[in-house]
Each structure stands twice: as C-alpha cells, then as structure tokens.
Amino acid sequence: MRQAAQTIIPTLIERDNERILADWTACQKREGVAARGQISEAQLGDQSKRFLTELRQGAAAGTLDDLSGPEWDGTRVLLDTVAGERAVQGFSPAETAVFVLSLKEPLFTLLREEVGNDVETLARETWAASLLIDKLGLYTIEAFQKSREEVILRQQEELLELSTPVIQLWDGVLALPLIGTLDSARTQTVMESLLERIVTSSAEVAIIDITGVPTVDTLVAQHLIKTVSAARLMGADCIISGIRPQIAQTIVHLGLELDVVSKATMADAFALALRRMNKAVTDRAQPKQSGE
C-alpha cells in the first residue's frame, strides 16, 4: 500500500498544471476524444482542468491503488458526470475511457524529466501513475455502462408508452391493442388512459385486444376485469379480442370469471361493436359509371 506522501505525482500536477493540461489536451485531440463534435473544445478543456484538480487532491490525500476512500469522492463524482454525459451523447465506452487514459503520456513524460536519473524512483512512480490512471479509466467505463443502462431503460419505457395507443376505429368505437408483457403498474396506467379516452371520445364500445400479450397472469386479468367493470359503470361496454388458446386455458385454470364478451379477432369484435350501435356496413347502392 502506497502512502500518500511517497509519490511526487500530486506535486508535479500542481507545479506543472498548465503544461500537463496542454499536453493532455494535445493527446486527447490526437486520440480523437472530441472528434464527434458533440462536445466543444471549451467544454473538454473545462472537464480536463477540473479532473486534474480532483486528481491532485485525491492523490495527495488518499492512496493510489484504492479509489473507494472519501479523498477520491470528488474525482469519482466528476467521472460519473463525464461518463454520464458521454453515454447520453452517444460516445463509445472506449472513446470515453480515452479521456482519462490519454493522461498517461504527459504524466510519464513529466516523471521522466523529473526523476529520470533515478531508475528506481522512476520505475516506482511510473508504475504508481499507470496503476492509478488504469483504475480511473476502468471506473470511467463502469460509470459509462451504468449510465447507458439507465438510458436504455428509459427508452424501453417510452417504447412501451408508444406501443399501447388508444385508437378510434369508428365514431364511438375505441380499440386498445395491448402489446408485450404487462406488469401491474403499466396495466393500470394503460387502463386509466383507456377510460379517459372513453370520456373524451364519447365511445360506447372499447375493444381491448390482447393478441400481442404472451401471458396473462391473475394480476393482469384482475386489472382487465376491473377496467371492464369501470367502463360499464361509466356507460360504455368492453369487448376483449385476441384471446389465444393458451390464454383461454390459463383463465379457466386460474378460475377467473371473465364476465365480458370476448371475440377471437379484433375484426369480429369490431363487427359486434357496430351491431351493438345499430350500425351496418353495406355495399354502395349505385355502381360506378364505366370509365370512372
């Protein structure tokens, strides 16, 4: 375990801050850190400056081979922010890590100039610096991954929102095609928006299509039943369509009472809805003139 006092790295960073920053920036440019243009040179420069400050403080107060201590809090927070931004901006993990890793070159150069004639010390310091920067690089990649996962999760949720729109099939007939696995919270939200639409469209019939739902468990089935009951209380009727054989079996097996009309396809359900509203689809009376 290295003692904080035994490395000259923090001293070097403080003393030659400008130069390290300049050399590091040159390295970053060469490695293409800001090549995508999503981050300006000024922003990059600002992040680099802040990182050097945190690094100096961390290295001065804490140990170089363990980043979990409170002395490295500031550094970790900064890296979390940088990695998070890069993830959102669409950078790759490697591009993000290079931000940190490219600091090696200027640091090693400085070390060589400072203690070049003392082989022992040079080897020790270079090793310590390399280890530290590797650790910081790895931490950055992990922070990046975490941020990426959050972005994906959020996108999934938005996709789910889009995949359950309420559609108006006809005057007074709504359809809600449910797609994907339904969890309790999402089902509740979806059902509430269906009921809202029933009010705003004055729809007397709502067709809930579950063709795209792989499994229906007790909880989801209960939500469906509650929604149908609520719609009835409001003055509308529901038809469930798209019940596949497996789901029919599950429903019977679970002993659920589906007290609602169900049809195999949405087409059948739509036909029933029209009948309920005393509407019919007929052929046009007049044939078109030849030549249209």
Binding site: L195, S202, A230, G235
Partner: protein, 128 residues
C-alpha cells in the same frame, strides 16, 4: 325543496349534482325526486354526476334508492357522466349500482331513456 334543482325535459327529470353533498342534502334529494316523479308523471330520471369527484357508498346507496323508487313509479333511472377516477374507485370499493343504468353523457342518457320507453310501446301522443 332542497338545494339541488330538478329540471323537467319532456317526460324526463334531469338532476345535475354539482356540489359535494352532505347526507341531509342527499336524503332531501331522494324525497324531492319522488314527489316530482309522481307530480310530473315522468317516465325517465337522469342523474348527472359529471361534477362529482367523489362517490362513496352513501351516495351509491342514494342512487340505488332513487332507481328502486323510480321503478316502482314506472320510471327509468339513468346515471350519466361518471368520471373515470370515480368508476375505478367504485369498482375497488366493491360497490355495484343495482337497477341503475349508466350512460356517458346527457345526450346518450336521454337517447337511452327514449329507447327503453319507446320499446315498451308507449302510445302517448306527442312523444317522439
């Protein structure tokens, strides 16, 4: 008369509940309606609850009572305008409105009353 106005549209009575009713008000509404149904020989009673944010078991009981009374007096009761949040809560509460028909709004409610009355073969002149 209580504070809730009862309007007459043709052979229908329309009640629009706009306030958060306390129990006495609900009771007097029930009584007022009974008197008015008999007095106007109404065939339909429409209760508009689109302004109600809360319907608890007491109000539910009131609606059921009104429906039961109307039926005895040969009138149809339709409750219109129930809000989604109210409907969801009533289902969770386990409350069923027995003998109460429901419609989305006043227009559909009137049409429903019309359909039911007409299908009973009402021969009174001037009603269409």
């Amino acid at each position: 008369m209580g504070e809730i106005p009862i309007l007459q549209i043709g052979d229908c009575l329309l009640v629009s509940i706009q306030v958060d009713m306390h129990d006495q008000l609900a009771m007097s509404l029930q009584d007022d309606l009974t008197v008015r149904i008999v007095g106007s020989r109404a065939r339909g009673v429409m209760i508009d609850i689109s302004a109600l944010e809360i319907v608890d078991s007491f109000i539910g009981r009131m609606l059921n009572n009104i429906a039961a009374m109307s039926r005895v007096l040969d009138a149809v009761t339709v409750v219109v305008g129930m809000r989604p949040a109210v409907a969801i809560t009533l289902v969770e509460l386990g409350l069923t409105l027995t003998g109460v028909r429901t419609a989305l709004n006043v227009d559909k409610g009137l049409a429903m009353i019309r359909r039911i009355i007409d299908s009973e073969g009402d021969l009174r002149a001037g009603r269409k």
